[in-house]
């Protein structure tokens, strides 16, 4: 019986079936569900690490200790972990080590669309890529075997479309793998990468890649599907990998296809033999011309990015249209799109949820017009009008350093850095230590919503709960920040507009570094949901002044009723959406929005 599994669920299943004992990750779209699912299998250890570098080190340690291990992350997580990926390549491992990288073509939820196959080549480690969930599951075990056979970490590269598509999977049994050793290895020439040892290891890993290239020649997931060579269609040769294989197969049903399940290193003889068998060779791959360049370096003529886009995600239409433009398909194969005369459709931009504890802080930052270096999380949405108060956001943990740099460069205004609790633990801590050490006037605001919100409420060191639901002592922010060297620290309830404003004002008027911790649970956490209680507007008091509209809450609506004097719509609170955070009630100058206890009185009355 087959089951529908997403690519991420399949990776988790494959890891369990193949005897992975330890897995570590930092959540990040589109990879998050891998560890969430893996952690539910019996007799495995799974954890959220504070960042991806730690996750890779943990997996490396487990592999050194002779247990099969896996680390998972989104593509940009590998940037954070890169240092560790490179030493692990140099040392090799005792037991199998798989590093899952989930790339995000089209940037559905990312700041770039880097192609992490480049990292495989850069670090001299093999890279395998599935084309559906069945292969995703199977390739975990295969990658672990390769890792052990060649003494190398292995990259398992997914893309959003593989991670978040469900396809039928034949489930297997768990194959428990005995630990390969009982003691930590004591082999400094292999595991202590001082220059003298590293110099000896470099030729070893270059030879390893040569051997892997020979292995790839007969690797079962590198597969040739010959077309009918008596037809023109069959004499078109396509080299492809990952989800692009599916589009290639669909758009060119008669073509000959070389589907590469290992995209680094390539099998030169197989590629040559395939190229020699076809009239025209094209490469269909998303993002970088990674296969195309490798094939051209073999001295083989092929076309890739001259036909198919380098930017964004493919779908059947992109592949078909590109092929028609290049004369690979007749004009008659075009699928027409009827031009519709549509009215303007109101967008549904991502906005901070009703009851979001970040709203009041951004409202105040906007009011005071301060320069804000932002960071990665739900709170990046502080960028969206009407809050409009984030002025830079690059990557995880960047904001505090950026604010410090701008300050030390001597600009004439006070810089504020805004960062979430989980992002602070991820890479914010060293940056704040730097602010304290070098004493800049940066005001750091830690938006502590007691969870990792954006990716769906994963635990972090501050939550006191691990991935496998163990209760542990939570890492307290205030003592931590003081220990980093910040003396001016205050924790303020994040719904208390007045207290937030006074603290912000106090910090802006004082010299030197300061940290404001704005604390309130994410409104979507089960414990917060229990406190939801919608507020109400006293319509006779409201004059349509629009103050409450300016906090950008989806639960505050324009009512059909206009104020007689101003002829502006009065405010109305959507009872289905409002959680009762009372931020709107605090900013209303006419006290027209009832607070929770007032609503209760009204209802009783």
């Amino acid at each position: 019986m087959k089951q529908l599994l997403s690519g991420n669920e399949a990776i988790a299943r494959g890891a369990w079936e193949a005897g992975v004992a330890v897995a570590s990750a930092y959540p990040g779209t589109p990879s998050t569900e891998i560890l969430e699912n893996f952690g539910r299998y019996p007799n495995v250890y799974a954890e959220w690490a504070p960042n991806e570098k730690v996750a890779v080190d943990v997996a490396v340690g487990a592999a050194y200790a002779g247990r099969r291990a896996l680390a998972a992350m989104k593509h940009v997580g590998v940037n954070v972990a890169a240092d560790s990926v490179f030493y692990a390549s140099m040392t090799g491992t005792e037991a199998g080590l798989v590093i899952v990288t989930a790339d995000d073509p089209a940037m559905h939820s990312s700041q770039n669309e880097q192609d992490n196959r480049q990292y495989a080549k850069f670090a001299r480690i093999p890279c395998v890529e599935p084309s559906d969930s069945q292969e995703a599951k199977d390739l975990v075990g295969v990658a672990l075997d390769i890792s052990e056979q060649f003494d190398t970490p292995v990259f398992l590269r997914l893309t959003t479309r593989i991670c978040h598509s469900s396809t039928p999977v034949e489930l297997g049994e768990q194959h428990p793998v005995a630990a390969r050793r009982d003691e930590f290895p004591r082999d400094p020439t292999k595991y202590v990468m001082v220059p003298a040892n590293a110099r000896n290891r470099h030729p070893v890993i270059e030879e390893r890649i040569r051997q892997l290239s020979r292995f790839a020649e007969s690797f079962a997931f590198n597969r040739v599907e010959w077309g009918d060579m008596d037809s023109e269609a069959g004499r078109l040769g396509i080299v492809t990998c990952g989800v692009a294989y599916q589009y290639a197969r669909e758009i060119f049903p008669g073509a000959s296809i070389l589907r590469l399940g290992m995209t680094y290193p390539l099998p030169p003889d197989l590629v040559r033999e395939f190229a020699a068998g076809v009239d025209r060779l094209i490469v269909i791959e998303e993002l970088d011309p990674f296969l195309e360049e490798a094939i051209k370096l073999m001295g083989i003529e092929c076309e890739g990015k001259s036909i198919f886009p380098m930017v964004g995600e493919f779908d059947p239409r992109v592949v078909r249209e590109s092929a028609i433009e290049a004369g690979l398909l007749p004009e008659s194969s075009r699928v027409p799109v009827v031009k519709l005369d549509k009215p303007e459709i109101p967008p549904r931009p991502p906005v901070l949820c009703p009851g979001c504890p970040h709203r009041a802080m951004f409202h105040l930052l906007n009011k005071r017009k301060v320069a804000v270096a932002g960071d990665i999380g739900c709170y990046t949405l502080g960028l969206v009008p009407p809050l409009s108060s984030i002025h830079s956001c690059g990557c995880m943990g960047a904001g505090i350093g950026v604010a410090h740099g701008a300050t030390q460069a001597g600009i004439g205004e006070r810089m504020v850095a805004v960062i979430g609790d989980s992002t602070f633990f991820h890479t914010g801590m060293p940056a704040l230590a730097n602010v304290a050490y070098n004493q800049s006037d940066v005001i750091t605001i830690i938006l502590d919503n007691r969870t990792t919100g954006m990716t769906g409420h994963q635990g972090n060191p501050g939550t006191g709960r691990t991935l496998q639901m163990q209760q542990v002592p939570p890492l307290e922010l205030e003592p931590l920040v003081r220990a980093l060297g910040i003396e001016r620290v205050k924790t303020v309830p994040a719904f208390d507009v007045k207290a937030l404003d006074e603290t912000l004002k106090e910090f802006l008027n004082a010299e030197g570094p300061a940290v404001l911790i704005a604390r309130e649970e994410c409104a979507l956490l089960p414990s917060a949901r229990k406190r939801w209680q919608p507020l109400e507007v006293l319509s006779e008091k409201c004059n349509g002044c629009t103050m409450c509209f300016r906090i950008g809450c989806p639960a505050i609506l324009k009512s059909d009723e206009l104020d007689e004097k101003t002829q502006r719509p009065k405010a109305l609170i959507d009872q289905r959406q409002c959680t009762g955070c009372e931020v709107c009630a605090q900013v209303c100058p006419r006290k027209a929005i009832l607070f929770r206890d007032q609503v209760a009185v009204e209802t009783r009355g």
Binding site: P30, S165, T167, Q246, P316, R317, P346, R348, V351, P554
Partner: protein
């Protein structure tokens, strides 16, 4: 070429679009089809536009995504979302829309205009004469649980597909908590009557 059905599902976060696409995919598997389902997550946790692609084929599905102009059916839980994804429909395809509106913040506190049902009729008239407006939310509310609107729509969609009602109900039962099985069973059956087929 085998028998195939390509579906685009769309709605607003919280409407059960993902659950409906899970049921639609499981039914395909139970009825002996190959199937792929692809979720396009937005960034917003609540209130964003949610969209999934589900493809059935009696032989084999390759692409997990459906191109513009290639969907046999749109199944949409909110009226403006039907217009947003209209270009995916193959000319002559079927459109099943829940008669329900959720106005985004760009309308409720901004200057954007929310389209009317007449807009919906006019736009789809250019593509197909198979537009079915189903009062899914009203039917579900009538049954005592407005959240079952997605299952009412599954019932409506099931009338276009050659799979017995029992198969659908068996899958739905595995997908909803026991105490909601009965209301969902009724929602499904009411949906089957809603397209007048």
């Amino acid at each position: 070429m085998g028998k195939s059905y390509d579906f685009i599902l769309a709605g607003v976060g919280g409407q059960g679009t993902i659950l409906a696409s899970n049921v639609l995919s499981e039914v395909a598997l139970a009825a002996g089809f190959d199937v792929k389902k692809s979720e396009v997550h937005g960034m917003a946790q609540r209130g964003g536009s949610v969209n999934t692609h589900v493809r059935w084929n009696s032989e084999r599905v390759y692409s997990p995504l459906i191109g513009l102009g290639e969907a046999d059916m749109l199944m949409v839980f909110e009226e403006a979302e039907a217009l947003r994804y209209a270009e995916f429909l193959k000319p002559g395809g079927a459109v099943v829309v829940n008669q329900h509106t959720i106005k985004p913040i760009t309308v409720t506190s901004g200057g954007a205009r929310y389209p009317t049902e007449a807009d919906l009729q006019a736009v789809f008239a250019k593509l197909t004469d198979r537009l079915y407006l189903v009062p899914g939310t009203a039917i579900a509310r009538d049954l005592g649980n407005a959240r079952a609107a997605n299952v009412v729509l599954l019932g409506a969609v099931s009338t276009f597909l050659d799979v017995p009602a029992e198969t659908w109900l068996e899958v739905i039962e595995t997908r909803v908590p026991p105490k909601y099985v009965e209301v969902n069973r009724q929602a499904f059956m009411r949906g089957r009557q809603a397209t007048g087929r």
